[in-house]
């Protein structure tokens, strides 16, 4: 991976992270809203190879752990996104039609966001954190899934173009 790719990718991730922290978190979105950065990271991982997906997940998770709004232990999101980033890129790489179909990638990323949150929740339970009532957890997960399904199609063309520009590839998304 060239220095240009690494620096451009890092800059892009930091910009999206700042947008998430400075603007998206300020919006009072119903049901807790969505994480633009999480969706972006998983979309990026879905377009990448499994190794890059895992690395992307690691960097993204580390940045999310740095956020003040993250209540859990530091490294929790890092671990979750390493696994989910690897998983989504592995699934995307294995099924070419999944990777190239906007509808299936929307489905894949939305489910990955849900999986990441569930995994984070389980990890929190293992670490002894209080996660709230069952009803509130289920409601939050379902609303998060709906928001992801709504945001992914909007973010996907932008992420795909940025990915193609940085990696000199031509995506058909």
């Amino acid at each position: 991976m060239s220095t240009r790719k690494i620096s451009l990718t890092a800059a892009l991730f930091i910009i999206i992270y700042i947008v998430q922290e400075a603007f998206v978190t300020q919006l009072q979105i119903a049901g807790g809203g969505f994480s633009l950065f999480l969706i972006f990271a998983l979309l990026w991982a879905a377009l990448s190879s499994p190794n890059v997906g895992a690395l992307t997940g690691f960097v993204a998770g580390f940045l999310i752990d740095l956020s003040q709004s993250t209540a859990g232990a530091f490294g929790q999101w890092t671990l979750v996104l390493v696994l989910v980033g690897f998983g989504i890129s592995y699934l995307g790489l294995g099924y070419e039609n999944v990777r190239l179909n906007p509808f299936t990638i929307t489905f894949l990323v939305s489910i990955s966001v849900l999986a990441a949150r569930v995994l984070y929740l389980l990890l929190s339970l293992l670490l002894g954190s209080n996660v709230g009532s069952f009803t509130s957890v289920i409601t939050s997960l379902l609303i998060g899934l709906l928001w992801s399904a709504a945001v992914v199609p909007i973010a996907m063309p932008v992420v795909a173009r940025a990915f193609d520009f940085i990696n000199d590839t031509r995506s058909r998304l």
Partner: protein, 313 residues
């Protein structure tokens, strides 16, 4: 070759997972470096977040408002209704407070004069069809009210009971053009006839051509036989201007009634009065000017003069 790449991939994944677990362990063990990194990031981001908050402040609640539009509308409607009810209660409370104040004043006056009174609320004011100056009160013959009884409020004379019904009574106000009352100038024995003029102003005509009055003189009701229609000593008004026209048989003056006939809430009908005339005891006290606070500053000169003020240099 392919197997080597796959192994490297697995190795990378394992390293990343171990690193994550290492970070979690460090955080759970309370290593200050981890919290320091998080605090540093937050310090760096806070100016950007402030800018974001400023930019997004007009639209921050847009999404919530859109989602909860129906609920917000119904809440607004409920709050509007509640606000209306509270405003109505406040108006009612203010009205009650004003009536209470008036009642307290009139009872003070009646108590000072040892009048036996029945208090009543003004339930109707004015008669646009007959052009007379009247009010209707919610006390009538059942409360002991009879025609020709004196009606007062906290400031003094209001009028006389004109017609009595079982639960209400019609009062002729002192401002009515047909109203006439015998008055006495407080502190003297000068008497005259005060006539209503349809407003708060009345006209006094002295009966004795030797008498003189001046601006500021207080007029009191002179009283009638058997205290009907007027009980003696009730404050009526104050002389505001004197007519000294040459050739006039008697002196006349403009009088301002103490009672404000346009804002009456509670009045009292004098049912009975003591035998003795209260004389000038019911004259309302003159308003006291508000004292201006003064500040006195005491300065004690210092015992040792400053070096520059001794004139030796």
């Amino acid at each position: 070759m392919a197997r080597g790449g796959e192994n490297r991939g697995r190795l990378l994944l394992i390293i990343l997972i171990i690193t994550s677990l290492f970070l979690i362990t460090l955080d759970l063990r309370g290593v200050s470096v981890i919290s320091g990194v998080r605090n540093g990031t937050q310090s760096a981001l806070s100016p950007v977040q402030s800018v974001g908050a400023t930019i997004l402040s007009p639209v921050r609640n847009f999404f919530v408002d859109v989602v909860y539009l129906g609920r917000t509308r119904s809440e607004m409607e409920a709050l509007r209704t509640e606000n209306g009810e509270l405003k109505s209660q406040l108006r009612e409370q203010r009205s009650i407070d004003a009536q209470l104040k008036q009642l307290q004043g009139v009872l003070d006056l009646a108590g000072k004069a040892q009048f036996k009174v029945v208090s009543a609320r003004v339930i109707s004011q004015g008669a646009t069809t007959s052009f007379t100056q009247t009010i209707t009160i919610d006390a009538g013959s059942r409360n002991g009210v009879k025609p020709n009884m004196t009606v007062i409020n906290s400031y003094g004379l209001i009028g006389v009971v004109k017609t009595v019904y079982s639960n209400s009574a019609l009062i002729a106000l002192a401002s009515d053009p047909s109203f006439r009352i015998g008055v006495r100038v407080a502190g003297t024995q000068q008497i005259g006839i005060l006539s209503g003029q349809g407003t708060r102003k009345g006209v006094l005509q002295l009966l004795d051509n030797q008498s003189t009055i001046k601006v500021g003189d207080i007029l009191l009701a002179r009283g009638s036989v058997n205290n009907q229609p007027f009980v003696p000593g009730v404050p009526v008004g104050e002389v505001t201007s004197v007519d000294n026209a040459a050739g006039a048989v008697t002196q006349t003056a403009d009088v301002r009634f103490f009672a404000n006939f346009s804002s009456m809430g509670v009045v009292s009908v004098v049912l009975d009065a003591p035998e003795e005339d209260p004389r000038d005891s019911l004259i309302p006290p003159k308003p006291q000017p508000t004292p201006i606070p003064t500040v006195t500053v005491f300065v004690t000169p210092s015992q040792s003069p400053s070096p520059n003020s001794n004139g030796t240099d």
